[in-house]
Structures are given as structure tokens and as C-alpha cells.
């Protein structure tokens, strides 16, 4: 309950701050502009955090397998590298969206 109230307060404060900022901002009717910066930052943070968790599980499983069977270490390492790159690519998709929002914002 307290967490919900806190989150609501933060959201209201954020909205008021953004509204004040865009009181002087572009008059083309794009009220989304200032929110895209927040979206880029928070989205990238969430993506990076979850990507870290996923990669940690992959590495932990690979290390356990290598400890059990040192003879298979090379094959496990190859599969682990491929798995890490695939997990990381999900965070890279979020990075691409953040870069587009920051440098080539279609809502400015």
C-alpha cells in the first residue's frame, strides 16, 4: 500500500515537472517529446538489468557443466558464448530504440 502511494506520488511529480518543462517547449502539439527521454532511460535500465540476470544464469549453468565434465569444457564454452550473445541482443534492441529516441526522435 505504501509502495503504491509512493509510486503514485513519483508519477504525479514527474508529470507536473514534464508539464512545466513543456509549457515553454515546442508548440507543435507533441506532448510526447519530453516523455521519450524518460522512456529511453528507464527502458534501457530495465533491459540492462534483466539482461544481466539472464546472462548470469547462463554463465552459472555453463560453469557448473564445465566443472562436472572438464573434457567437454570447449564445447560448453562455445555454446555459452553463443547463448550470451543471443541474450545480449535483447538488450541491444532496447538500446537501438533508446538511440533512436535520443538522436532521431520522431516526436520532437
Amino acid at each position: 500500500m505504501r509502495i503504491l502511494v509512493t509510486l503514485l506520488g513519483v508519477a504525479l511529480g514527474l508529470a507536473e515537472g514534464v508539464a512545466q518543462a513543456q509549457g515553454e517547449a515546442a508548440a507543435t502539439g507533441s506532448w510526447v517529446g519530453p516523455f521519450t527521454v524518460v522512456a529511453a532511460g528507464i527502458g534501457m535500465a530495465i533491459a540492462a538489468g534483466l539482461c544481466g540476470l539472464g546472462q548470469a544464469r547462463a554463465i552459472a549453468a555453463a560453469l557448473e557443466g564445465m566443472a562436472r565434465q572438464p573434457g567437454a569444457a570447449a564445447r560448453i564454452q562455445t555454446a555459452m558464448i553463443i547463448g550470451l550473445a543471443l541474450i545480449e541482443s535483447l538488450a541491444i534492441y532496447t538500446l537501438v530504440i533508446a538511440i533512436i529516441l535520443l538522436f532521431a526522435n520522431p516526436f520532437k
Partner: protein
């Protein structure tokens, strides 16, 4: 973003990624023609190095597609070498990697997309290849076909964005570190903050340079090789999937459960 453009190669009307892609093509072609017309039986020097690279890629193909996939070596090796060389070009200060532009990576991904479909169609025939989209049972077809279509369309998209995002992210990071170093040292040397500012600023600049050369560059080297490796590995997996959709039981990829260690070099 204009500050991130390379100062060299200001060719007229030609975008930077095109000019540097031509440079990569020139370098790769020069490497290829440097081998004499009849290669020596016992390779030395440059021929030895290039043969080692091709042996590595052949080992990967044997592991993933199987021995009958060796005829795709030109496609796979060209893609791999072009992407690796392009990624490496981004590490040279003043150059920009052609692969940090979505057009180059999109072109490579589209080549892979049309290649593996064409390979599958040529292997199994038009009707049989598309009948595999329907899944194991005809009753599941209305469910399986949209899922298969979306997953097949997502493949070139993911290939493009993965390579593009990695290269562009590294490029932006290096540029920001570079400008931070320049800004820090100019602030320190301008005397605006006195002797303390000079000391802190110069120490910060040296620390940033050491961090960049010692940690960021090796990391970017690793990422350059890794992204080319992943691209090539995924292309081989897609080709293997297109080939073995018909005869998956009798002729799997060498009997391995998945990508494994490349075959040891035997020369």
C-alpha cells in the same frame, strides 16, 4: 551526432559507410590476390594464415550443417570476413565501421534471408518447402503458419539490429569517452580552476586514456569478433534448418546436439 562523423574520407556525395565498405572490399580482395595462382603445397606466411582462417570456418560448417554444407563456404566466409573486417575498421581512430550503419547490416541480413530460403527451395522443391511451415499435423496449420511466418521475418530483423546496435553502441561510447577526455584536459589546461584543477584534470585525463586503451579497446576487439562469429553461426543454423526440414532424422548435423568445438586443424 554530426560530431561523431570521421574527419577522414570526406568523399563528395558518398556516405561514409559506403566509402569504408569499399575500403574493406579493397583490403579483402588484395588479400585474396596476394596468393599466387598455384598455391604452394606446403603453405607459408600469408597463405598459411588465410588457410587457417578458412579451416576454422570449415570446421564450424562441419559442426553445424554437416559435410554437405561445405559448398556454402564462399557465402559464409565472405559474410564472416566482411563483417569482421568492417567491425575492426571501427576501432581505428578517425575511421567509422561500415557496420555501424543499419543499411550495411540490413544488406548482410537480407542476403542471408534470401539465401537460406533459396537453398531450402532448391533442395526440397517449392511445395515441399512451404508445406513445412504448416507444422507436424495439418490440423495445426492455422496456428503454425502465422507463428512460422513471424519467426522467419524476425530473423533478418534480429540479425540487422544485433550487429548494428553493438557496433553503434561501441562507436558512441568511444566518441563520448574521447570528447570527455578532450573536454577534461582542455578544462584543466585552461587554468580556470587553478593548480588543483590542473592536477585533477590531468589525472582524470590520464586515467581515462588508460581505461580506454587498457579495457575498452580489448572489449571492443572481442565484441567485433564475437558479433561476426554470431552472425555467421546464426546464418549456418538457418541454412541447416532449411536443409534438414526434410530429412531431419537420417542426416543430422554430424550427430552433435548443437554447435560444438570446431574440428581440430590437421596440418
Amino acid at each position: 551526432m554530426e560530431a561523431l562523423e570521421p574527419p577522414i574520407f570526406n568523399t563528395f556525395g558518398i556516405p561514409h559507410h559506403v566509402a569504408f565498405a569499399w575500403l574493406v572490399m579493397l583490403v579483402l580482395m588484395a588479400l585474396a590476390v596476394a596468393i599466387p595462382r598455384r598455391p604452394a603445397l606446403v603453405p607459408r606466411g600469408l597463405q598459411n594464415a588465410l588457410e587457417a582462417v578458412l579451416e576454422f570456418i570449415l570446421g564450424l560448417i562441419d559442426d553445424v550443417i554437416g559435410p554437405e554444407g561445405r559448398r556454402f563456404l564462399p557465402l559464409i566466409a565472405t559474410l564472416g570476413l566482411f563483417i569482421f573486417a568492417s567491425n575492426l575498421l571501427g576501432l581505428v581512430p578517425g575511421f567509422t565501421a561500415p557496420t555501424d550503419n543499419v543499411n550495411t547490416t540490413g544488406a548482410c541480413a537480407l542476403v542471408v534471408f534470401f539465401s537460406y530460403h533459396w537453398i531450402g527451395i532448391r533442395q526440397q522443391g517449392l511445395g515441399a518447402y512451404f508445406r513445412h511451415f504448416a507444422g507436424p499435423m495439418p490440423a495445426l496449420a492455422p496456428l503454425m503458419v502465422p507463428i512460422e511466418l513471424i519467426s522467419h521475418l524476425a530473423r533478418p530483423l534480429s540479425l540487422t539490429l544485433r550487429l548494428f546496435g553493438n557496433m553503434l553502441g561501441g562507436h558512441i561510447l568511444l566518441s563520448i569517452v574521447f570528447f570527455m577526455t578532450v573536454g577534461l584536459s582542455s578544462w584543466a589546461l585552461s587554468g580556470a580552476a587553478g593548480v588543483a584543477g590542473l592536477l585533477i584534470g590531468s589525472f582524470g585525463a590520464v586515467a581515462t586514456v588508460v581505461f580506454t586503451v587498457g579495457f575498452l579497446f580489448p572489449l571492443k576487439l572481442l565484441v567485433a569478433f564475437l558479433q561476426a562469429f554470431i552472425f555467421v553461426m546464426l546464418s549456418m543454423l538457418y541454412i541447416a534448418g532449411a536443409l534438414e526440414a526434410d530429412h531431419g532424422a537420417e542426416h543430422g548435423p554430424g550427430g552433435h546436439a548443437g554447435p560444438g568445438v570446431p574440428a581440430p586443424a590437421h596440418h
